[in-house]
Each structure stands twice: as C-alpha cells, then as structure tokens.
C-alpha cells in the first residue's frame, strides 16, 4: 500500500546550533526536547513518551557512552527504554528509522527520536581523528586518510569522469550559506562569495575549507506516534510515508564506483517505492552536504538529475530557494552546522517546519512532500525518509 503513512510527527525540537561553550550533550538535548514539549501542549511527555532512540556518533568527544539513559535522565523520560543508535553521521537517520519500527511494532504508541553531538570543545586534530573512526580503520585510517580525504577521493573521480568543477562545488556552499542567513538556529549566519570559497585553505584537495561542513554543537528531536491518533496531539501532524535504509562497504576503496553512493541510491529507491512517489514529486529536500561534493552526489543518487549532472543542476539554480526543488533550506550541514549525531533528525526538523508552514522567511510555498537524505561515513550507511503534509 504505497503512500500509507507509517507514523506521524506530532512535534519537533532543535537546539541552537553553534559553538555552545560550557554545555554537554545532555544539556543540548534537553534544550531540543524542551522546544518539542512546548510545541505540543496536548502531550504529557513524562506519561506519554514510551521510548527514546537517539543518534550519537562519538563517545570520545565527552568520554561518555551509554548516551540513551543519559539523555533520558536529563529530560524527564526515565525509566523508559532509551537506546543509542550509531551509524556515524547517519546516526539519527537510523534512530528515526528505528523509532518508526518501534511505533509500527505495536510495542510503543509514542516515541521520541533524536540525536546529539558536542564537538567544538575539541581541537581540530582531535575532531579529525574522532570523525575518522567512521571510516575503515585497518586500511583508510591506517594510511592517514581523513574524512575530508574520502570525499576528496570521490570529488576527484567525479571531476575526472564528468567534468565537475571546483566552482560548481563552491556554488553549493554559496547557496547553503545564503540559506543559513535565513535560519536563526544556524551556526553560520553569513553569505560567502565564490572568490572567498575558491581561495579558502585546502583541507584535502580539491576540497577547501568552504567545501566542508562545520564542526558544531547541537541536538534535535522528533515526537512520533501512530497516524490514527496524531490529531489528538496536534492539528498539523506531518506523516512519514517512506523509509529506506541501506549499507555499503566500510571502505570506500572496496566499492565498484566512487562517483555515486550505492547505499543512497538503494535507500532512496526503497523510500520512493514505499511512498509511491518519484523524485519529481519532492517539493523540498534536506540532503547530506557534509562536503559540497556530497550534495551533488545526492542530487544524482536521489534521481533529482541524471548521473554526472549534479554540477549542472547547482549552476542552474534549481535547488535554490525559489527554484523548482529547494535543497537544504535550513543552510544544510554546510551552514546550519553538522553536529554529526544530531544531523539526521535536524534534517527532519527542517522538513517538519517546511510542511507545517513554520519556516518563516525561508518557507517553500505550498510544499507538501519533503525528503531527507542522511549519509553515514563515506556512504556505508544511507537513510532516506519521505514526508507528507497531513
């Protein structure tokens, strides 16, 4: 039954993203949950929320694992089951999918899903090392290949195969920085120029500083329930009508191609099939622009354009605000910021705002179908969800 709602989102919350000095994950997550509670006055969170599934990537940042109960402890959700999900940068995309299964299972009626990461208190070298843990240790980490390095390998291959340019990649950054200026919760609130992007410091050639998403602190959450009772909690639920997830080799080098993420293609196709929709039906999308090249790959892998046409698509302005398919209206990982564990449900938060007409001066008029695309590591995990205005 394509297009049948799996679950409904009845509320959502997001902490301010940025350098949040003097806070810990648990405190940022409390900030996000508070917003979600305040948005949903018919809900009694302590009584009604039955479980928590939370994406969190790295125990090294705060030397703290066992994140599930820690966050439940700080948000009044004890003694409910509270489980940490780790799929690298797709941790909360996976948490969302797990929450959907929890509702569909019949074991739980209302659950919270979310994610959190606190990163800015660590040095760049430390963050570089912690992020690299999501890549293959014995061959990639062992050979000094960083996370930007893995996406750089994809960028070089894409440039070589399709003629994609550094300027086209910079256009992604320019668009997403612009969108970020319209999002008060975004980490960055400043426009950038092509010149500035092109002249920024090289991180892993051809990727420069402005091709890379931000090291950010933040948290996000959603409250999910069964579609048939959603209206009890809000007048404007958003239905999730497609969920696709797939995996690929941990090592980038093990894959047949470097110019496409197979897991993202499969996850997207599964989500479209479940929703009974096609790429052209999507009105607004949040895609995983951890690096600018990743947004171009997303256009192609999600069928928004043909293989190799990602560079052309960004140049044509299709994905700008006001274009036919605005992408990363929130500012994306590039400008809103990328607190890795929080990203998947932060993408869903933006789509929730868009489909309930709460996105203020970045609102996509008349948007009814939204999509999120959350990628873990160099593409070993991909999680795609499709949303419909109720």
């Amino acid at each position: 039954m394509a297009g049948k709602p799996l679950v409904s989102i009845v509320s959502a919350g997001l902490s301010k993203f940025g350098r949040r000095e003097g806070t810990m994950c648990r405190e940022l997550f409390a900030e996000a949950t508070k917003e979600s509670f305040d948005r949903c006055s018919n809900l009694d969170p302590i009584k009604d929320i039955e479980a928590l599934f939370v994406g969190h990537m790295g125990e090294s940042y705060e030397h703290q694992g066992h994140t599930g109960p820690t966050l439940a402890d700080w948000t009044g959700l004890l003694p409910k089951p509270a489980i940490r999900i780790e799929s690298a940068c797709a941790s909360s995309g996976s948490a969302l999918r797990t929450g959907i299964m929890a509702i569909l299972s019949g074991l739980h009626k209302i659950v919270m899903v979310g994610g959190v990461e606190k990163m800015t208190h660590r040095t760049t070298a430390e963050v570089t090392e912690y992020l690299a843990m999501a890549s293959d240790m014995p061959f990639e980490q062992w050979n000094g290949i960083t996370f930007p390095g893995l996406y750089a390998l994809m960028a070089t291959a894409h440039m070589n195969k399709y003629g994609t340019t550094e300027e086209q990649m910079a256009q992604v950054a320019i668009k997403n920085h612009h969108n970020g200026t319209l999002n008060p919760k975004a980490h960055m609130q400043k426009e950038i120029t092509l010149e500035k992007a092109m002249n920024s410091k090289v991180v892993a050639w051809p990727l420069k500083l402005y091709d890379c998403s931000l090291i950010t602190d933040g948290a996000s959450c959603l409250i999910l329930t069964r579609p048939n009772i959603a209206k009890k909690y809000t007048d404007t639920p958003v239905d999730i009508i497609g969920s696709g997830q797939a995996s690929d080799t941990i090592g980038l080098y093990e894959r047949e191609t470097l110019t496409s993420l197979k897991a993202a293609k499969i996850a997207g196709q599964n989500a479209y099939n479940m929703a009974g929709l096609k790429p052209k039906d999507v009105n607004v999308a949040e895609v995983h622009d951890c690096f600018t090249i990743a947004e171009l790959l997303a256009y192609e892998d999600l069928g928004f354009c043909s293989s190799g046409e990602g560079g052309k698509m960004i140049q044509q302005g299709t994905t700008e605000l006001g274009g036919k398919l605005p992408v990363n209206t929130s500012g994306g990982l590039k400008s809103k910021g990328h607190p890795v564990g929080a990203t998947g449900t932060a993408q869903a938060y933006e789509i929730y705002l868009q489909l309930t007409n709460q996105a203020q001066n970045r609102q996509v008029e008349g948007a009814t179908i939204g999509l999120t695309h959350n990628v873990g590591g160099s593409g070993a995990t991909a999680s795609v969800h499709i949303y419909r205005r109720n």
Partner: protein, 132 residues
C-alpha cells in the same frame, strides 16, 4: 590454527611484513577477496586459500591531505589514492616519491613495502605506492 590459516587483516599485514601482497581466494566460487575475509561474502564458504597478487596497479582516484590527524601531521601535506590491481581489486594508500602535479588518474603505480612502526596495537607493517 596457525596464523596463516586465519583469513584476517592481521595475517594480511604479516604477509606485508614479508613483502608479499596476498588475498583470499574462495575455493567454492573462485571469488578473490581483498582485504581478506574469513568467509566468502559471495557464497559464504569458508574454504579459502591465500593467493599472491602482483604489486602493479593503476590509480583510480587521489587527494592531498593538508589537515591530518595528529599521528600523521608531520607528513602533511601528503598524497593518498586508491589503486586498482588486476581483477579489479583495490587498496588505498599513500603515494610517495611523486610531485602532486604529476599525479594523474590512470597512472601506473606499484605497491611497495615499508616497515613495522609500532610496538603498540596494531603493530602492522606499512605499505605504500610509488610510480613505476
């Protein structure tokens, strides 16, 4: 079970220490597996053998790492790439003894053997690539 009979990454690096590039070959379906895995991921057989590969390959993609993890900071900037051997098997690694400007996708590279660098875990040997 002797170490050589374990189709593990550790055994792979033991061979690297002996200056040999070795992969696992499945006796059931002929699949050649690099990095080696204890079970054929194509047919799930554990009836495997080691085979030696030639060290010559072609560059599939590359980058230059400027921002490195602490452990590699003294080497930065350094070139890393993915190299394809015969049968389409691939490994990533550093590309040494070449200028960045001379690196081209498709160029011929050779896998070379370094030395064991650490007494801590993992005390694996190193390999790297170099132009032919």
């Amino acid at each position: 079970m002797s170490d050589e009979q374990q189709f593990t990454i550790s055994t792979f690096y033991n061979f690297v220490n002996e200056k040999r590039l070795m992969a696992a070959k499945c006796s059931a379906c002929g699949n050649v597996i690099l990095p080696p895995k204890p079970m054929c991921t194509q047919c799930l057989s554990t009836d495997l053998n080691w085979i030696e590969l030639e060290c010559s390959g072609k560059l599939v993609s590359y980058t230059v790492i400027h921002v490195a993890p602490e452990q590699f900071q003294s080497l930065a900037p350094y070139i890393v790439g993915i190299v394809e051997f015969k049968n389409g098997l691939r490994l990533p690694g550093m590309i040494n003894d070449v200028h960045f400007e001379d690196v081209k996708i498709g160029m011929d590279l050779k896998l070379c053997f370094g030395t064991s660098t650490s007494s801590q875990w993992p005390s694996w040997s190193r390999y790297f690539f170099r132009p032919v």
